[in-house]
């Protein structure tokens, strides 16, 4: 639903970077890998948290 607050594996707070990642790599046309490098998300455990995430708030919102 919302992006997980921390990386499941190492515990680094990855959700801080979600907004910018979404803006630049998902909605924009930048290379996700370069955006992650830019954001300082180095480890592959943290990178997969953002790369594999899909926001579902908009999908569930009508079914309150």
């Amino acid at each position: 639903m919302m992006v997980p607050v921390r990386c499941f594996t190492c515990g680094s707070v990855v959700s801080r970077h979600w907004g910018e990642f979404q803006e630049r790599a998902r909605e924009g046309d930048e290379d996700p890998s370069e955006v992650l490098d830019d954001l300082g998300v180095e480890r592959h455990c943290c990178r997969r948290m953002l790369v594999s995430h899909r926001d579902l708030v908009d999908v569930v919102a009508p079914y309150q």
Partner: protein, 261 residues
């Protein structure tokens, strides 16, 4: 080598929230003890109890509680004791995204370490209002109370020059990680002196980049450990390491007193 002769600590890389340093004169058991103390013994504040006034968001109260628990809170360890609580409050009406920056705190010293952690996205007519108790506990009980993130160490390795590379030998990469001690400065492309501590990132983790056309061997340096420590923002890395070492020390004293006749 014995652990009683004092330790030598050398920082390779240091910032508020992450550091790499080499400690000499450690035994593997003590190095691991410090690592474990950083993870499980140094307490941090974390939300543990919620009083939800209104939650019309798309998430259940429990999910909001989990997310709030994972938000790192600044923890001045000198002013609090394990078990102390601080009350936080959150009140956001949609359309907006409730972030950690919206959290109000009853004690200015304990506040979210980052203001940009999203809690929940609220749509039109949705509202989240709650009070939360943050408690100071150690990571032994719950991972949300851990102050250290990705804490680890490896044996320090030293490079030794063997000779020129075999012209027709295998041409695979020679990967090293973390920090290496320079032992073949003359063969390195970079400016170096023997005994330097070099970040492996600096040469792409591949010794062939640093010593082109040379055969280089790596050997463990006895009793030397390269630590990598990150903090989640609760306190500085320095504080985390010092508190962990203190915790190991106080346990040793406790054991000595317990077995003393």
């Amino acid at each position: 080598m014995s652990a009683g002769d004092g330790f030598e600590v050398e920082f390779v890389d240091r910032s508020e929230r992450s550091a790499r340093f080499v400690v000499r004169g450690l035994t593997p058991a003590l190095a691991n003890g410090i690592r474990r103390a950083m993870i499980a013994d140094v307490p941090t504040f974390s939300v543990d109890h919620l009083r939800v006034v209104e939650n019309s968001s798309v998430m259940f109260d429990e999910m909001i509680g989990l997310r709030l628990g994972l938000v790192p809170l600044t923890t001045p360890l000198d002013d609090f004791e394990v078990g102390d609580t601080v009350t936080l409050a959150l009140d956001v009406s949609g359309p907006a995204t409730a972030t950690s920056g919206d959290i109000e705190t009853s004690d200015g010293m304990v506040r979210p370490a980052d203001d940009d952690v999203p809690i929940i996205e609220l749509k039109e007519n949705q509202r989240l209002e709650l009070e939360a108790e943050a408690v100071l506990e150690s990571g032994k009980g719950h991972a949300k109370q851990q102050g250290g993130v990705a804490v680890g160490y490896r044996h320090l390795q030293r490079t030794e020059l063997v000779g020129d590379a075999d012209e027709f030998g295998d041409d695979g990469p020679q990967i090293v990680r973390g920090v290496v001690e320079e032992g073949a400065a003359d063969a390195a492309v970079a400016d170096a002196t023997d005994g330097d501590l070099v970040l492996a990132d600096a040469f792409g983790n591949d010794l062939r980049e640093r010593y082109p056309d040379k055969e280089v061997r790596v050997e463990d340096v006895p009793g030397a450990f390269a630590f990598h420590v990150e903090s989640d923002g609760s306190f500085s890395v320095e504080e985390l390491v010092l508190r962990a070492a203190e915790s190991v020390g106080s346990r040793a004293v406790e054991l000595r007193d317990a077995v003393a006749v």
